[in-house]
Amino acid sequence: MEFLTQFWDAILKLVNESGIGVMVANFTSTGWQNLVMLGVACLLIYLAIAKGFEPLLLLPIAFGMLLANLPFMNPAENLAVHYHDIPGFVELFKTGDVTLIDMLYLGVKAGIYPPLIFLGVGAMTDFGPLIANPKSFILGAAAQIGIFAAFIGAALLGFNALEAGSIGIIGGADGPTAIYVASRLLNKDSSIQVGTIAVAAYSYMALVPLIQPPIMRLLTTKKERSVVMEQLRPVSKTEKILFPILVTIVVSLILPSAASLVGMLMLGNLMRESGVVDRLSKTAQNELMNIIVIMLGLSVGATTDGPSFLKLETLKVVGLGLFAFAMGTAFGVLFGKIMYLFTGGKINPLIGSAGVSAVPMAARVSQKVGQEENPGNFLLMHAMGPNVAGVIGSAVAAGVLLSMCPNINI
């Protein structure tokens, strides 16, 4: 009889300490939030796998979200991230309660992963169309106005400078840049977390083919959309080698806070274009990038626990993210129209929308919308110029936000 009692007590203890037991016991406080977040995580996994929504990042982010919302008896042992800044990590480390996710997130908080991803991005990017037509830089710059439009919107909605900067950078349409800025600006006192920014950024990047075309058609005429552009001049190997060196020097001398992102982007590109370190270039594009993407996605997703994600501020971020993308597209197209006028009709304004740095999706959207008017019109390579210029532009904008936002008192 005593054995049965002890057996039953052991079973009860296991049930109470299980995730289900903890969730039920705390249902009115955190339990329902965990349940909702598990549902959101499953939805994002579905979108990543079945609908192809930026699966490389969204799948690990969604799974990190799922892991972070599995309830544990002792919250210190769960798989969410347990700190918000480096001093917080140091304190946690001293207690010895550091988990796998805590260690992986250190690379995000210390600003290591995003520049390493940019190393791979640079190794994969051909800046030839941009070098052949440097005017594309203007379109890359124009699309970054969306970042600052969202910044104003965030300020209007009551966010502080650090939060507004993190929200605004979503408009750069560049996942690593958004995570880099958010991880440097947001802290334990912020009303939003890095995971919220990442989920919004990658979700909207996947929706570029839906968001951009209506704005592009609204702001352009049929005649403008039908413009066939001249073939790009050939670009020499020397130019392609000098490009990353010069961009790094120019940008870093003017804006040192952008040096980390731009420098790694250009190092990757130099490795690709030099032709003498082919093995390093292949590693940067493949193995290194894949490893970093896994660690970044999983740990960033793990910051989206229920209490930090299920709040009104998240809805505001989602709305502002859409606003940022729309404004970036609109300003890119508007500057494209200005260039169309100044060049006597030689530039198709549709390539302006590719200034958002969702490479190569935004360039493909320009190509697709252009072909709707003129099936023989191939805008893809022309649109790649502003598209890759946008990557540099968003990194510069990130540098500005990192430099100015921490120094702003209300």
């Binding site: 600052f148 209007l156 966010f159 900067g165 540099i392 936002c405």
Partner: protein, 120 residues
Amino acid sequence: MFSGISIGNTMLITASGIVIVFLVLLLLIIIFALFGLFSKIKSKPKDKKPAEVKPITKVQPAATVQNNDDELIAVISAAALEYLSDDGKTYAVRSIKRSKGERSPWATAGILQNNSSFTK
């Protein structure tokens, strides 16, 4: 509205950010437009030279070749065609020109060795 950051600071960051982004990228436009100009100037003298594409039977020998040119052409053609034969396509050698020799054969061999796979 503007409870987290004042309207003045919001406009300051917005205006500064837009101006700095445009200025940096304008500077890059100027630098790379000059690139384009230099490469146009550099390519102009070459345009004046006659095209060297000729059928194999009429290839003109390079000025520095001292030995039997027909034999050299045959050897180079055979080596090139052997290298390209794996894809099953037919090739014809139309022109053979001496390269500019920017890199010595030793340097090229070193690079090839560095880029070879670990597993070989």
